[in-house]
């Protein structure tokens, strides 16, 4: 369009365009405004919604945080450091570095708990003094747990039941005889956790059996042919004097026996024979702790069987001759027994002998103790260790954590074999124990060792007192063949019963 020739149409066109533009311009803000307003409103609305959501999210987060803090705070909030004391017993020098490692491991997992080990020569003598003073150690190792520190009126130990329930602690992994011992006989509270146990079996000199042409005892706990009478016959057959005669042969010289059929690791345990024959010995009856039943015919029969092995059948080493067989200072070292002299065909043995058996120099085997054909009982005593917490411990929770750590399967592996040369109290450690025992025990006898705890019998709680001197003197007269089983049982029973009755009467029972 040229301005020189601007016509009416051009002008109208321009005017229309301008008006349109102006009109648009006039409408646009409104539209924009409205759009903006709408958009704004939309945005605001959305913002409000978002803010609402965010706010809700924040509230939720706060709630979550609060809950998490509550939960986490209960478990992981910095706890005040606590020191607990442990006074184990019968500690040897070789145990000290192991205890050090155990403490470090435990404290690594539980930094707020400091464990102070207190090693004393005789913790059992020190513990009561500390208890009376009100400052007992938090934890103690109890031997024959379930017997120490208990009276009809009270106990030294804390009831562990609440801890077991709270954590749903699995007690089924422990061998039943072991666990039974940890219960207080008067209030049935669990007062200890088992650590390890010592059980017995029969070790035999294979060379003697082979030389005499006698079949060795069966290495099978389920075998019922190995009875006390069979043991006796075998022992008699394997006994020879210096002239080579057996006890059943004419001219046999009982004062000059060269080879014995059997001996015991110690001079005690006649009471177990009485129990094996069906009598209820002083410490072997779990149910009845009030009545002394050593004068029953079965008990007397069992005891007499034992005495006859020594003085009538002459196939068992006499207590005084046992010292003659042992040599060297300290009776030949801690775990030397007459079996080491190669003059014994069979001997009662246990785990801590096995290491020493490596140096025996002759082929040996182990078999279960004989099984009575009528009662089904075996002469296998269980001696068990356990850990218990002092009743008045100032830090029972922390003490429980240390105790359950010590009784745990992982730690029990170390304690059982490396520290104590014992049998595990836990069934789950059976395979590990067998693997370790395979280093010393011939493979065909491993089952004897691994299954022994199942067939073992603990000594249960009995009253303390001077009656023990009476019974000890009676047993010594019995072992010296000065009195028969019937004499010591019938003489001692009423005295011990009177002492027991008096003891219970003091506690109003």
């Amino acid at each position: 369009m040229s301005f020189s020739k601007l016509g009416r149409r051009d002008l109208l066109r321009a005017f229309m365009l301008t008006a349109a533009g102006a009109g648009l311009m006039a409408c646009a803000p409104k539209v924009v405004k409205e759009t903006v307003v709408v958009e704004k409103e939309k945005i605001v609305k959305e913002t409000v919604e978002v803010e609402k959501v965010v706010k809700e999210a924040v509230e939720v987060e706060k709630e979550v945080t609060r809950v998490v803090e509550k939960v986490v705070g209960e478990e992981e909030a910095p706890r005040a450091p606590v020191t607990i004391t442990d006074m184990p017993s019968q500690v040897r020098g070789s145990h000290l570095p192991i205890y050090k490692l155990l403490v470090e491991s435990f404290q690594g997992r539980n930094p707020h708990i400091k464990v102070e080990m207190q090693f004393v020569p005789d913790s059992r003598a020190k513990w009561p003094a500390l208890l009376a003073a009100g400052t007992p150690p938090d934890l103690n190792t109890v031997h024959d747990a379930g017997r120490e520190g208990i009276t009809p009126a009270d106990t030294w130990w804390l009831n562990l039941g609440p801890f077991v329930d709270q954590e749903d602690y699995d007690l089924t992994d422990f061998h039943r005889p072991n666990l039974d011992l940890c219960y207080n006989p008067f209030n049935q509270n669990l007062e200890a956790l088992p650590f390890q146990c010592f059980v017995g079996w029969l070790a035999y000199h294979k060379g003697i059996f082979d030389a005499e042409g006698v079949e060795t005892p069966p290495p099978d706990w389920d075998d019922t042919s190995w009875t006390p009478e069979k043991l006796r016959e075998t022992a008699i057959f394997l006994t020879r004097d210096k002239n080579g005669r057996r006890p059943t042969e004419s001219g046999f010289d009982p004062e000059n026996i060269e080879q014995y059929g059997m001996t015991a690791a110690g001079t005690a345990f006649p009471t177990l024979w009485g129990w094996c024959f069906g009598g209820e010995g002083l410490m072997l009856d779990r149910e009845d702790r009030r009545n002394v039943q050593i004068d029953s015919e079965e008990y007397i029969e069992g005891l007499q069987f034992y005495q006859n092995l020594i003085f009538k059948d002459h196939c068992k080493v006499r207590p005084l001759q046992r010292d003659e067989l042992l040599t060297g200072t300290g009776k030949g070292g801690s775990f030397r027994t007459p079996f080491h002299t190669t003059r014994i065909a069979m001997a009662r043995s246990t785990t801590f002998h096995l290491e020493a058996f490596k140096a025996l120099g002759f082929e040996w085997g182990i078999a279960p103790m004989p099984r009575h054909p009528v009662t089904g009982r075996r002469f296998v005593r269980l001696a068990a260790n356990g850990g218990a917490i002092a009743k008045d411990s100032a830090h029972p929770e922390e003490a429980w954590e240390w105790l359950s750590f010590l009784a745990s399967p992982e730690i029990a592996e170390i304690r059982v074999v490396d520290m104590w040369q014992a049998c595990p109290a836990r069934k789950s450690l059976g395979p590990y124990f067998v693997e370790r025992m395979s280093e010393v025990v011939p493979a065909e006898h491993l089952e004897v060792v691994s299954r022994a705890p199942e067939f073992s019998n603990p000594y249960y709680w009995v009253p303390g007192g001077e009656w023990q001197e009476v019974w000890s003197a009676a047993q010594q007269a019995f072992l010296a063949n000065e009195k028969s089983a019937r004499e010591i049982c019938t003489e001692s029973a009423p005295i011990i019963q009177a002492a027991w009755d008096e003891y219970y009467k003091q506690y109003g029972m």
């Binding site: 003598a125 009561p128 208890l131 009376a132 520190g149 009276t151 009126a153 009270d154 106990t155 030294w156 005084l320 010292d323 003659e324 040599t327 200072t329 303390g464 007192g465 001077e466 009656w467 023990q468 001197e469 009476v470 000890s472 003197a473 010594q476 007269a477 010296a480 005295i495 009177a498 002492a499 008096e502 003091q506």
Partner: protein, 311 residues
């Protein structure tokens, strides 16, 4: 008033005496405190406990004289009397032997023999060793099959007994063992012997007294104060014998060496029957007190003090 008299006695009446009295009290106070806290206090506590049943786990329960009556007439009183009998037999045998051996050794070592100082040391040293070490040593000596004594007896064709493993020989073994510590008494005798004026012996010799007369008329009378002292100490010590039986025999075989103190120990620390053990301790205390008093009472008849003037 009594309190005034005591105060005067303790502190005197003059300023100087009072000061001396206070200094005396100041120096003796530590001992008094120690005596009250470590001796008299525990004694009183033990006396009270002897009338209770106390097993440490529960507070003491008062039971009157029950502990005392049961000891003398209860079902186990036989054991109580047995342990008392064992202890008395041990004391009645070992005390005279220790007195005689100690005296004889002192007489021998009071003479002019070569290296007498060495011999005196040699005989004195065993009494310095501690009880448990000595007990362990004697266990080896009394070993029936490898022990020193039986090996020496075997050299002369004698079969030695089972010593501490024999019911008949266990207590005699411990009596023999008690002579091991005779060196302590020997030293005291020796110092007293060297204090006897030689003029007395010279005068007696001039008067024609022989060695035996000089011994009985001069040496023994002048030694009676020392014998008296050793007798009292011997009675107190032997009635409390514990270590040898505890370490070597445990009271056996068949309670042949069940000393009274061992029974007390078992009651307290094996059975945790503190009330019963406290009763046993007080009975022993009374016995020793009575015997000591008796010895003191009779001493005027047989103990001669050089400075004493007899009426």
């Amino acid at each position: 008033m009594a309190s005034t008299r005591i105060a005067h006695w303790l502190l005197g009446t003059t300023r100087h005496e009072r000061r001396e009295g206070l200094v005396f009290l100041l120096f003796i106070t530590p001992w008094i405190v120690g005596f009250l806290v470590f001796t008299l206090g525990p004694m009183m506590a033990s006396f009270i406990l002897s009338f209770t049943r106390y097993d440490i786990t529960t507070p003491p329960v008062f039971i009157g004289v029950s502990n005392y009556t049961r000891a003398f007439s209860g079902p186990l009183s036989k054991l109580f009397w047995h342990s008392l009998r064992v202890t008395i037999v041990y004391s009645c045998t070992s005390i005279p032997l220790r007195l005689i051996f100690g005296f004889m050794l002192a007489m021998l070592l009071n003479s002019n023999i070569p290296a007498v100082s060495l011999w005196r040391t040699f005989f004195y040293l065993p009494s310095v060793l501690s009880g448990v070490a000595v007990a362990v040593l004697w266990m080896l000596v009394f070993e029936p099959y490898d022990g020193v004594i039986n090996r020496l007896l075997a050299l002369v064709g004698i079969e030695g007994p089972m010593w501490i493993y024999s019911k008949e020989w266990a207590l005699p073994s411990l009596i023999i063992m008690s002579l091991w510590g005779v060196g302590g008494a020997m030293i005291i005798y020796l110092s007293a012997l060297q204090g006897i004026p030689t003029a007395l012996y010279e005068a007696a010799t001039i008067d024609g007294a022989g060695a035996w007369v000089r011994f009985w008329s001069i040496t023994v009378p002048l030694m009676t104060p020392i014998i008296f002292f050793n007798l009292v100490m011997g009675v107190i010590g032997s009635l409390q014998s514990f270590t040898s039986a505890y370490v070597m025999t445990g009271g056996g075989p068949q309670n042949a060496t069940l000393f009274y103190s061992l029974q007390l120990y078992n009651a307290a620390f094996r059975d945790f029957r503190m009330g019963w053990a406290s009763m046993l301790a007080w009975i022993l205390f009374i016995i020793i007190l009575c015997l000591t008093a008796l010895i003191f009472k009779t001493s005027s008849a047989w103990v001669y003090y050089e400075s004493e003037v007899r009426k």
